[in-house]
Symmetry: C2
Subunit: 215 residues, 2 copies
Amino acid sequence: MKNIDSIPKATIERLPLYYRCLDKLLTFENIEVISSKELGGRLGIPSTQVRKDLSYYGEFGRRGVGYDVHDLKKSIGKILGVNKTWPAVLIGAGNLGRALVNYEGFEKMGLKITNVLDVDLDKIGNRIGPITVESMKDLDKVVEEGNINLGIITVPASAAQEVADKLVRAGIKAIWNFAPTRIVVPDEIVVRNEDLAVGIVSLIYHLSWQDKLDA
Amino acid sequence: MKNIDSIPKATIERLPLYYRCLDKLLTFENIEVISSKELGGRLGIPSTQVRKDLSYYGEFGRRGVGYDVHDLKKSIGKILGVNKTWPAVLIGAGNLGRALVNYEGFEKMGLKITNVLDVDLDKIGNRIGPITVESMKDLDKVVEEGNINLGIITVPASAAQEVADKLVRAGIKAIWNFAPTRIVVPDEIVVRNEDLAVGIVSLIYHLSWQDKLDA
DNA sequence: TAGATTGTTAATCGATTAACAATC
DNA sequence: TAGATTGTTAATCGATTAACAATC
């Protein structure tokens, strides 16, 4: 296997797509063997890209035959770490926070939001699905007792940095940030910004250009 | 200006970040002139990247001085198309749909979700903020009367393709797809997949590797 | 064996970064 | 003028795609 740092980020983003597709093949279609061409075809990815992505981690197929769906799913699951369950604490019990807690499909990817925290006294004590919203003051205790490495930020942009600081101090190792602002954390903390406003603007950009060209 | 197709996708993703930062500078910090170094610094982007990104669209700065914050914000707003308001129809009045309707910060980016549709009779008629959930049967009428070019899919994966087909038939030109599945549409339709499960897996991947290396 | 498909090397393509003349 | 900063060209870096030997 290659050094982990030399693997393209884009490859890591495609592995979950392969994983989910294989799961679907296994669960709903009873397909046992698949070629890189067929797997890629279902995802709009060239077969050569599929093979290259997998090659960073080892040899998983049989020449002339293809990949065993069950085996490959298991292998990719191990590579990604989704074969385990990763507990997470979510900060910010607003609409988006509630949506994430109730989102189906995280479980299959190894994510389990176990605790939801907020500073708002009106929200503390409320239930979201099976979870009761706790006070932000309990953060350190929750993270320690739950052995939690993963924090999810769904507070307004103005509060995001403060929450990030608290998560880091509590011992969190990775942060999924939905607040539309950059958060600054120590180098060893992994951050992913899920900036919804950026997503919509790239669509608006294309629409706007069509308009300009039409006119 | 360069041909629109020759501009890197990554550049288009960074423009909204510049735009939002300039807005913040203008609104909260009363800063009138900014250098590419300072603007980039606030976003974790090299100054040379900032200048390169802008250069695809023209010359916006003054050598030896920097960029006028107000002017640059206006220019980027025009480039992105966020100087206008783009009405959108959202399909799927679940948790995520509700969260998006209530999301602050889309308005500043030119997005206005004007209609929410669902097939579920229990949901039709419910209110989400200022919007009343309508029947999916009204899609064609809603799109035509509202002059809507933008559709947002927040239904389960199993229904996403069918919804996409209906949106295309109704005359939608761009689709923001939150369902964790690939949707197939004609070439001229712009699609952006906002696949939340992929986002979390890239974090889990890094956590998992730290674990493996520690052990 | 003939056809199919992998895994990998080499070529291509695209995006970022460095360097610097232009100029405020 | 001296210092600062842009806009752009060239160099570098990284990711994708093409080609093909290996092999089922």
